[in-house]
């Protein structure tokens, strides 16, 4: 009973303080919205409208037809037409274009000659994504006006994209983004929670009251669980509204996974808070965990394609497991009962981190 009163006191105090900290309160809503707009609109791996220049030395009917076809793909956006390949190289070097297309004098003859390439494509290879797009251009057929139609070749392997047939980036990004946004805000909030009170001197008062370490820890994280679930709703809502990201599985399952993940991050934040002496140190520690969580969790790069060591590191990060859960539930319609290993990891992680945090935080100053 007394314990409940103390827990209640800490929770109430945290909520009051949070509601008065307008900037932080704004971030609770602003951060997820900003991130989803940023990742949803700006970061796009299906590249279009690459700046391109053409040096059409043939200038025949066929070559002009070819340029028109190129333009029609929308993959390239022809911004300039130059006379020589040298001019293209200059434009590439100065970063004016990403792709340069050379159509030689004897284009018409080369088209029917199987031994020589008909077109040269100069690519700024420093960005692998652009290079990959340029490679797609190779498969582009060249149409002839004449009856001499090039024989249509049948591909040996047909690829059928499941779960995201239109290959839209947001469909893949949004479930992962939920993990990244929740991790960022949840961990930051709690990482500074204890340290801030230490810096302000509140801690010396608190540890002289009958409040126990566990009550203090649980009381501090509870309000943020509600905030985390709210953020989850914001991301889901915007994902649906703006990018038509589906939730094929059960919303309830998604919230179960979300709760476990939020708890894991709050516990991790508290652990950071008890291990550091100043808010600045706590921020640094948070970034230390933030970077691998973004890079190694499967959010940015496919998990299976990463080096083994990176996979090991990714495997101990809560974000990795949460992203597996969300992609499973939202895109593959998997029930959470089929994804228990990831769920149990999150629950186990929470328990371990919380225990260490409460033990580490002694009610003493020495």
């Amino acid at each position: 009973m007394k314990s409940l009163s103390r827990l209640n006191a800490i929770i109430k105090k945290e909520v009051l303080q949070l509601s008065r900290d307008r900037l932080t309160f704004g971030m609770v809503f602003g951060l997820p919205i900003m991130q989803i707009l940023l990742f949803g609109y700006a970061i796009n791996t299906d590249v279009r409208n690459l700046k391109t220049a053409v040096a059409n030395q043939a200038n025949t009917h066929l070559s002009r037809q070819f340029v028109a076809d190129l333009r029609a793909t929308q993959v390239v956006k022809i911004v300039e037409t130059v006379a020589t390949p040298d001019a293209l190289e200059g434009l590439l070097r100065r970063g004016k274009i990403s792709i340069g297309i050379v159509i030689p004098h004897d284009f018409d003859r080369r088209v029917v000659d199987n031994n020589r390439a008909a077109v040269h494509v100069l690519v700024d290879g420093s960005d692998p994504t652009i290079l990959a797009v340029a490679n797609q251009l190779r498969t582009m057929p060249i149409r002839f006006d004449t009856t001499l139609q090039s024989p249509k070749k049948q591909d040996l392997i047909e690829v059928r994209p499941y779960y995201n047939p239109e290959r839209r980036t947001p469909v893949n990004i949004v479930p992962g983004l939920m993990g990244v946004i929740l991790m960022m805000t949840m961990m930051l909030f709690t990482a500074v929670a204890i340290v801030r009170e230490r810096e302000r001197g509140n801690l010396e008062l608190l540890i002289n009251t009958p409040v126990s370490s566990a009550e203090l820890m649980i009381g501090k994280v509870t309000p943020y669980i509600a905030i985390g679930l709210l953020q989850l709703a914001i991301i889901l809502g915007f994902g649906q509204l703006l990018f038509d990201v589906p939730v094929r599985g059960s919303i309830f399952d998604l919230y179960v996974a979300g709760s476990a993940f939020i708890a894991a991050n709050l516990a991790l934040g508290l652990l950071i808070s008890t291990a550091t002496q100043t808010q600045f140190q706590a921020m640094q520690m948070t970034i230390f965990i933030l970077m691998p969580s973004i890079l190694l969790s499967g959010f940015m790069f496919p998990f299976d394609g990463m080096p083994v060591i990176a996979q090991y590191i990714g495997e101990i990060l809560p974000t990795t497991h949460f992203i597996r859960l969300t992609r499973g539930i939202m895109l593959r319609e998997a029930p959470i009962s089929e994804l228990t290993s990831d769920l149990f990891f999150l629950i186990g992680f929470t328990l371990v981190a919380m225990t260490i945090a409460a033990t580490r935080f002694s009610k003493r100053l020495d």
Binding site: R6, N8, I10, Q17, N208
Partner: protein, 313 residues
């Protein structure tokens, strides 16, 4: 319980690496009294208070605080003590009333009496007009009154105050002490650390700390009566010349200037202190009159914190 002393400490010591913050401290703090710790910064006052409420573990020695053994599990002690830190430690982004509310809940103060207790404290500590003000925006004196109100809310038997008046004006200090006397009157034991002589003088009993060692204790009157020094007051036209003259006299342990007056401490084994001073001044052609006077607490402080060589002069 019901013992004569609220605090009994035996050989209490705290070392931080090579630094001996507190050495071999023995203390007997009677119940219902105001007990003062007088000492300069770094003399071990805060460290001692923190050991007594279980925040720091003693390196050596032990203490019994309200029946709880230190070192040991201080959980049973927490509800019985009130602690006011040197630095304001309440929540600056909560209002005065919310701070009191929080403290009431944290100490599980009976729900039915919470509201009336908070009203009572707002009145007693003159915080009614500030109750909706954020604690962080208040003046030093107001913060200190709130600090005290929060420290006593749960009716602690023992109140530990760590330099509570270091950031407030003289009027606030007077009011603060009036509150302390009222609390002591109602049976609360108060341990207060200070580096102000006038505050030390108000305590029932006093311990003087210097470099972590207790160099004297007793009632202020007691301490003033047994300094082991003659106190000679000198009024000189040129106090600076008089001071440099007297500093060179072998029998004189200490000379302190107070405006045009000098307070001269001479160990008691020297006879005729007044003649000694007047003769020394006359020999150097410095004009001035000397008279014997009673020791102030400052004299006590100077006497007990001086080096053995000075004392043996």
């Amino acid at each position: 319980m019901g013992a004569e002393f609220a605090i009994e400490a035996r050989g209490l010591s705290k070392h931080f690496g090579d630094l001996r913050a507190v050495s071999d401290l023995n203390l007997d703090v009677p119940r219902g009294q105001i007990y003062g710790f007088l000492g300069p910064n770094g003399s071990g006052k805060s460290t001692t208070i923190r050991m007594l409420c279980g925040l720091l573990t003693p390196t050596m020695g032990s203490a019994n605080v309200l029946g709880t053994e230190i070192p040991g599990d201080s959980r049973t002690l927490k509800p019985k003590i009130g602690y006011m830190t040197q630095k304001f430690s309440l929540f600056g982004d909560l209002t005065v009333r919310e701070n009191l509310q929080f403290i009431a809940e944290i100490y599980s103060y009976p729900r039915a009496e919470r509201a009336s207790r908070i009203e009572e404290l707002l009145g007693k500590y003159d915080l009614h007009d500030q109750q909706t003000q954020f604690a962080g925006t208040m003046s030093g004196g107001q913060k200190q009154r709130l600090g005290l109100a929060c420290a006593v809310l749960h009716h602690p038997e023992l109140l530990l105050l760590d330099e509570p008046t270091s950031a407030v004006d003289p009027q606030s200090r007077r009011d603060f002490w009036a509150n302390l006397f009222r609390l002591a009157e109602s049976g609360t034991t108060i341990l207060v650390s200070t580096h102000y002589m006038d505050e030390a003088e108000r305590c029932h009993r006093l311990a003087i700390l210097d470099h972590g060692v207790k160099v004297a204790d007793g009632t202020p009157q007691d301490l003033q009566a047994r300094t082991g020094m003659h106190i000679v007051e000198v009024i000189a036209e040129n106090p600076y010349a008089a001071q440099s003259t007297l500093d060179g006299v072998a029998a004189i342990a200490s000379v302190t200037q107070l405006g045009v007056r000098l307070r001269v401490l001479i160990p008691e084994r020297h006879e005729n202190p007044v003649q000694l001073v007047e003769k020394s001044l006359a020999e150097h052609g410095v004009a001035g009159s000397a008279s014997l006077t009673a020791a102030s607490l400052e004299d006590v402080f100077v006497a007990v914190t001086m080096s053995p060589e000075e004392r043996d002069r």
